[in-house]
């Protein structure tokens, strides 16, 4: 018989306000096996933990039940506590009486009764707990960063700084991501390229950082500390080791009608191209869909002009398999194409552009050399209208429910830059709210209004139509309660941002969870913001939620710190709640191995003693280092030989019984 101690936490008033904690402790004291029960204001505090430790020693406890917040919150804390007092950390169960009781029920009597039942279930389970020991597994001291934007670059550089090898996988031919496309950055108006390109060069030249550009993650196996990742190198049709990046081929390529993605399609590039002048690695890439030679077998001009002999039309995709201790997701975002928002006329009028397109039109390295010209006729605009929250903060199916966070600030930036370069241009911004929470952000916005004279109108644009080359904007002014009709030469849409399309299949490969918007979920919204709930997977940048550059960089560095913390360890403790097979019951039927997603089950011939008979039988053996403890095998086993430690059949049955008593 176990000697069980029950500790009921008040959590200040979080639990105590709706649950009669003293009554819970008092009632649970009479449960079989309970030799000690108490309540205390904050069990997780130092003095609360001291109470637990003292009780374990004083009453010779063998099992502990803590009625408190969710085990997802403090299970690890309390496991350490009981271990410090000399009992196995797995002799602890937590009854969740905060998130799943006191916070959701208002009636004190009802909540108290439920807390008692949840406590009873935990006591019933602890009776059947057995001490478990974690196995150790070695850590591969190398990290993988998926995505080579500013987030991925910053994380990789910080990890490399600590002395660990790190690989960046980037699906584009160059690293740099979205930030490379930007003109200036708020709130300081630094030029994006001036602050990003040195970091790109650092990443390219750092001997601890390896770049896998034009690559994608194909397969992920393994677990924290021991991931095995297959990277697909897409064919560039250019030998990256020979290419010098001289650009001769890109100027000679006769296929010239291919929209240049980097400039948002405002100009064209050759079939063989280098995305932009500061690309890292500066290596040409042939797009096989555009290449005349690849399509017809005639041309081959690039191969003729390449003095380095780098062109190779026969290149095939390659697969590289490497091992990693940690994986960082930095897949970033995309701006939505507002094609479904027909009222703004994005589909019909060239002068209606998204803000990222506008960014290229303002950029000195962009298609217009930094001169703001109307895409329709190449003339300077005199009136520009900015529309905020296009596709953000909406309830309909075409909208994102969230705030894209960066639009208020970059619109203020755009407005300011336009006014700075062309003071006589009339700039109007339509907004729902102006959100500027950030260091020097509100000051920046106020400068746009007060110093640069940008007109801010609270209200939404209802319709944009073109008449005789002029955009007619219909909008509402909510403060003046008036309808507005306004002419504009350009309309810029602050379209919502969304996670990159590659994120969803990647999350499936990594078994990392996502929210309904396809942003990666963090392990804890406040306390573990850069880790995924899946051990060994870390989150950097906008793959986790909309962020501006300063925030992305801080998160990227925080993420690197977590990765370094993991890679600095030589061994990790594995989850001891794994499956095991009872060899006297197992008949070696292979059903369990078929459902195991990790291939953790193998078969061995073993000498088994059963009912006084000694015989050699084929039985299932679980590799504890590989098993992740899902329990699929335990249910599928027809002879009931498979069970899961920590969540054993008898334990769950005991919980059911306690609840249904």
């Amino acid at each position: 018989m176990q000697r069980i101690g029950v500790f009921v936490c008040w959590c200040g008033t979080n639990i105590a306000a709706t649950v009669d904690v003293a009554k819970v402790a008092e009632t649970l004291k009479s449960e079989p096996g309970v030799v000690f029960a108490t309540d205390y204001q904050y069990m997780c505090s130092a003095s609360g933990q001291e109470i637990i430790k003292n009780a374990i020693k004083e009453h010779n406890l063998t099992g502990v039940v803590i009625c408190s917040c969710s085990p997802r919150m403090h299970e690890a804390t309390f496991r350490k506590t009981v271990q410090a007092a000399g009992i196995n950390p797995y002799m602890l169960e937590i009854a969740n009486i905060r998130e799943q009781c006191s916070w959701i029920h208002k009636d004190k009597e009802e909540a108290t009764e439920k807390a008692i039942i949840l406590g009873r279930a935990a006591i019933a389970k602890v009776h059947l707990n057995a001490p478990l020991t974690s196995m150790e597994s070695p850590v591969v001291k190398r990290a993988l960063v998926i995505g080579g934007g500013i987030a991925g670059i910053q994380t990789a550089l910080d990890i490399a700084d600590a002395g660990f090898e790190v690989d960046i996988v980037e699906k584009q031919p160059t690293i740099g991501g979205k930030m490379a496309q930007l003109d200036k950055t708020f709130p300081t108006l630094d030029c994006a390229a001036c602050i990003l390109t040195p970091k790109m060069v650092d990443a390219g030249s750092n001997d601890k950082v390896n770049l896998y550009t034009y690559c994608e993650v194909d397969k992920v196996e393994g677990f924290v500390g021991n991931f095995k990742v297959t990277i697909k190198q897409k064919p560039r049709y250019v030998d990256a080791t020979k290419c010098t990046g001289c650009g001769e081929c890109t100027t000679k390529c006769p296929s010239r009608k291919n929209p240049n993605e980097f400039n948002m399609g405002f100009d064209n590039r050759g079939a063989v191209y280098i995305p932009f002048a500061q690309a890292v690695p500066k290596v040409a890439t042939i797009d096989p869909d555009d290449c005349i030679y690849m399509k017809t077998g005639k041309c081959g001009l690039c191969a003729k002009v390449c003095t380095a002999g780098a062109i190779n039309y026969e290149q095939k995709e390659e697969f590289i398999t490497k091992e990693y201790g940690a994986i960082v997701v930095a897949t970033g975002y995309n701006q939505i194409k507002p094609t479904e928002f027909e009222e703004y006329g994005y589909n019909n009028y060239k002068d209606v552009v998204t803000s990222l397109e506008f960014e290229r039109l303002m950029n000195a390295a962009g298609p217009t050399g930094g001169h703001l010209l109307r895409p329709s006729n190449g003339k300077e605009p005199k009136k520009i209208v900015f529309v905020q929250c296009v596709g953000s903060r909406g309830q309909s199916c075409r909208d994102k429910s969230y705030c894209s966070k960066i639009c208020c600030m970059y619109t203020a930036k755009h407005a300011m830059l336009v006014k700075d370069h062309y003071p006589d241009v009339d700039v109007t911004v339509f907004y729902i709210d102006v959100r500027t929470p950030g260091k020097n952000f509100d000051e920046f916005y106020r400068r746009a209004v007060e110093e640069f004279g940008v007109h801010y109108i609270k209200g939404m644009v209802g319709k944009v139509e073109e008449e005789d080359g002029v955009l007619k904007v219909q909008a509402s002014d909510l403060l003046a309660n008036a309808q507005i009709h306004m002419d504009a030469d350009m309309v810029v849409l602050a379209a919502a941002i969304e996670p990159d399309k590659s994120a969803r299949p990647l999350a499936t490969m990594l078994t990392a969870s996502m929210d309904t918007n396809d942003f990666f979920t963090e392990a804890h919204a406040k306390l573990r913001p850069v880790e995924s709930p899946t051990a060994g997977i870390f989150l950097s940048g906008t793959c986790q939620g909309p962020k501006d550059i300063p925030e992305t960089v801080s998160q990227a560095s925080a993420c690197a710190a977590k990765v370094i913390g993991l890679l600095a360890k030589d061994h990790l403790l594995c989850n001891p709640c794994v499956a095991h097979s009872n060899e006297t019951l197992c008949n070696g039927c292979s059903t369990c191995a078929n459902v195991c997603p990790y291939g953790a089950i193998t078969y061995e011939d073993r000498l088994v003693m059963d009912k006084g008979v000694r015989e050699t039988r084929r039985i299932a053996v679980v590799n504890e280092a590989v098993c992740q403890g899902c329990g699929a095998c335990t249910v599928t086993c027809p002879s009931g030989a498979m069970d899961l430690k920590g969540f054993a059949n008898r334990q769950i049955m005991a919980e059911v019984d306690a609840i249904c008593r």
Partner: protein, 147 residues
């Protein structure tokens, strides 16, 4: 002859929740103070595929009036494929239970992600109401267990 005072029926509902999505969703419902009936009691399992049909039979046998199983959305299982197995098992089990006289409405599978606190609370509310309307489950209750 003694006449027992008839008490108002409050159903007993057992909810099996996977640790990674639904249990976290239940926690989120708590953090957001989203109310749902107190007669829903949650049992944490690592994955929905850990839920043995026998656990559900046991719950009914011991007096549960409804059993709901919640897991990650199909395709989002923390263990890649666990919820697919769970879905198949529960489909078979529930149709068999229905055949035995445990109404289909008493059993339910629902996918709730860690971000869907609102869905969790709404699901539990709705399920509890359904069971309340159905009334007590007496079909599988093991007479030997009754006091």
């Amino acid at each position: 002859m003694q006449v027992e005072e008839k008490k108002e029926f409050t159903p007993l509902i057992v909810a099996f929740c996977c640790n990674w999505c639904s249990y976290a969703g239940a926690d989120l419902a708590g953090s957001n103070r989203l109310n749902y009936p107190a007669n829903v009691k949650i049992i944490r399992v690592p994955c929905s595929c850990r839920v043995n049909p026998l656990f559900i039979l046991r719950a009914f046998q011991r007096g549960a009036d409804g059993v709901i199983m919640c897991g990650c959305h199909p395709g989002d299982c923390h263990y890649t494929t666990g919820n697919y197995y769970a879905r198949r098992r529960m489909t078979t089990l529930f149709s068999m239970l229905d055949y035995l006289g445990i109404e289909k409405e008493r059993t339910r599978v629902e996918w709730v992600s860690a971000a869907e606190g609102v869905k969790f609370a709404a699901t539990m509310k709705d399920f509890a109401e359904t069971i309340q309307k159905l009334g007590e489950n007496r079909k599988l209750r093991d007479l030997r267990c009754e006091k």
